[in-house]
Symmetry: C2
Subunit: 356 residues, 2 copies
Amino acid sequence: MEQQLIFTNMVGGAIDTLVESLGNPDCIVLTDTNTDQFVLPILVNDSKSVAQARRIVVKSGDTNKTLDELTAVWKRLAEHEATRRTLIINVGGGVVTDLGGFAAATFKRGLRCINVPTTLLAAVDASIGGKTGINFNGVKNLVGSFTEPVATIISTVYFNTLPQQEILSGYAEMLKHALLEDEKTLGDVLKFSPVYPSFNSEALLPVIRESIITKQRICETDLKEAGIRKALNLGHTIGHAFEALAMKRQSPIPHGYAVAWGTVCALVLSNMLLGFPSETLHSFSDFVRTNFGVHALSCSDYPELLGLMRQDKKNATPDTISFTLLESVGHPRIDCAVTDDKIKAALDIYRDLSGQ
Amino acid sequence: MEQQLIFTNMVGGAIDTLVESLGNPDCIVLTDTNTDQFVLPILVNDSKSVAQARRIVVKSGDTNKTLDELTAVWKRLAEHEATRRTLIINVGGGVVTDLGGFAAATFKRGLRCINVPTTLLAAVDASIGGKTGINFNGVKNLVGSFTEPVATIISTVYFNTLPQQEILSGYAEMLKHALLEDEKTLGDVLKFSPVYPSFNSEALLPVIRESIITKQRICETDLKEAGIRKALNLGHTIGHAFEALAMKRQSPIPHGYAVAWGTVCALVLSNMLLGFPSETLHSFSDFVRTNFGVHALSCSDYPELLGLMRQDKKNATPDTISFTLLESVGHPRIDCAVTDDKIKAALDIYRDLSGQ
């Protein structure tokens, strides 16, 4: 069953319409301490269903996407006597949609839920594609499921007050989606400014719509990540290595920034190996440099970066590492085996492109 | 994807063939302390895959189907570096297939697993239909998922040494499945003796095959219990009330026995309300009385029994309780609303039939 996507800035009304169309089930709203304070007071005014719903509040922040919080949510669902008819409404960022989605997927073997993402990253990434879960044993998302919500309500009203870094983190995923879609979508995304003060959340709604539809299309084709969904790894192989090395050196960089820089490197490789157009590579690289800045690198970092890329054993042989690359915009090729020398050459070119 | 059912008493060979057909993945065998001691030593001799597999052992017994044991299994899977290619082989009773199935369904958002049930009840019930889970917060199976294994290997070699009570507990479910299938299957099940010394596990294999195919057919049509799968509740509404009242009075009765007696009562109601044939009711009732004995009841128990039946709120109104009944063998009707008076009358008739 495909999840319903609703794009609107009238969130309260959309929730009520949806709840009615689902047969007016009992609702439980799941929030985190932030959205409970800043978003719920407004939603309670705008939505009868939210006003009448019982509430479960989890601690905000990725460090709380834990088994302990999940256990607390299961207990509260039991106290609220949730049944298979109950509808869970997740209102929050990725922590809420991941943890709330997993709680819903597993309580009484599955309650229905809807997602109301309140961050750009959750809207374009976490809440689409059915990935739910918690961090466990020090590993991100080690426990979870592929379970889609019945609907996701996408709105940009919550993004006006997001910190710059949060907006850019989400925007990096939108850049990636546009590369997987087509020239027109990429053009729209590269024209838009994700940086304050010119950032305008109202104008973002049509752009985000394209982006989410791309992700949804890819995920629906391959919910369980057996094939084409790997296209969404574009930029992540090198991006994760940047992120991990920065973390190791105790000067962490935001995930989205790492992905943006990693995507530039993936386009360099695509240009070298698959003839991806140079002109598009340059306009993309310029956009990333202008908005995300530059990731400083030196040759001496290369061995460590290659070691980190090699950690995902299923994607590496002793001599090559597997990438998602692009033949052209909208034409990904997954499982491209690339030699260490080619990767080093691409990192050299990234440094040139970014003026290092 | 439909799970594969393999009926054989050459379990080791069947596992090896299956593992090969799945592309020779790394295997992890999940057992409980009992099957690890009594079943694994034999399987290790008979199966290369089992001999080479790493092992995870959980504590045996339904009281250990807990979040703590599940957490321990997740941790061991992480230590064993299980990936999405890893195959989990659950060898044990319902605790192992429920808990192991849920661990597999949720680790890294889903590993493949196969079930090798070692008790009759697990073979005909727990391991078929995709229900996985743990007990939580004092409630049975409160947390879990609907996730089918890729295959279940059904063998009767492990049943020779089961206690009488365990065999009858599983056999009650087989009686129920036969009632949902057809006259021929019912005839086969009523001809077979589930009681030592005449019980012959070898001869059980063809009978169990019919039974499991019935359950599989019903579950495949309705994996998530939205409709016809409720047919499998036949006998359980009154059966659960018998079980709960006995528990409350501190003289517990085995679940399977309660189901067998509850099924007789459901057939009485079916006869009263839907014209289920009297002759079949009597031969079924005789079989249950001979093999399971009689559940002693008095009129003074009725109010408490009705109260217990009413506890599942979604299935009850102030005046009626919802049942799965049969028009005839093989023709269930779900969601039959029955008045308290009719239920009392059926309990009276049950007492007559059992000579009380």
